[in-house]
């Protein structure tokens, strides 16, 4: 038999729903999320605002008073001022760190100190291991 054998593939069923509107919607959603999402993680620093009267300080705690000037220098307990980055090397600070009793650090900042300088001091204190930091004026 020389007759041609034709293989007919089964005809694909025509889909009822066209994909084009779906793609339109998905693209719009994609654009929306691309334009509105932000990827930077929000990080934060706690500023405690205790209710007045609840801040009872235990009697046997040592306190270390730091005065932050607008030039970014820190005065220790009324003594001479030092640069922020050398704060950890000061005798009073290292003494306070080695004490057995918990130490409360009291920060007194001048009015003109900008927030970045203040944040840097709080960072330095946290890095030095002081947990209990009270900011004068915020409590």
């Amino acid at each position: 038999m020389a007759a041609d054998v034709r293989l007919e593939l089964p005809r694909r069923r025509r889909s009822l729903v066209s994909l084009t509107p779906l793609i339109d919607v998905v693209f719009i959603l994609l654009l929306f999320f691309m334009l509105t999402t932000q990827f930077d993680r929000r990080q934060a620093m706690t500023l405690s605002v205790p209710v007045s009267g609840s801040a009872a300080v235990p009697a046997e705690t040592e306190s270390l008073v730091l005065a932050l000037g607008s030039d970014g220098r820190v005065a220790l307990d009324g003594e001479g001022s030092v640069e922020l980055r050398t704060l950890g090397r000061q005798a009073l600070v290292s003494e306070a760190r080695t004490l057995g009793t918990p130490v409360v650090v009291v920060v007194v900042a001048e009015d003109e100190v900008d927030l970045q300088t203040f944040t840097r001091l709080m960072d330095t204190l946290a890095a030095l291991g002081f947990v209990d930091v009270a900011v004068h004026g915020l409590r």
Partner: protein, 136 residues
Amino acid sequence: MRIAPSTRAPADHDAGLVPMINVVFLLLVFFMVAGSVESPKPFPVLPPESSQQRESLASRVLYVGLDGALALDGEAMTDGSLAGALAAVEGESPLALQADAGITFSRLREVIDALRAAGVVEVELLTTSVPAAATP
């Protein structure tokens, strides 16, 4: 034996789109899961840099601009109107302060005082991480 060339039905041209849709769906899921949708800032704010990398727990953000202006939920605020706006929604979660790095400490104290008067107990200050090149 000859196989007849397949004659594509006109409806079949959708089939070529399927890989593209797959990719677009993947991108869509990525942006939905990896990012977070945030309302636009009422005014430009440059938060201070900090090395303390605790993640923020607050759900509401109070913006403090360089000129001291306040904005909460997209509305401009004054120190006086803050109390009413905050009392309207009772919430246990802390309030985040998105303050410009250049504001003075006295302005920060005023804002905190206003918040305390409004009954806010916990305030966190939003910061950005220190750029890697700047770390000593």
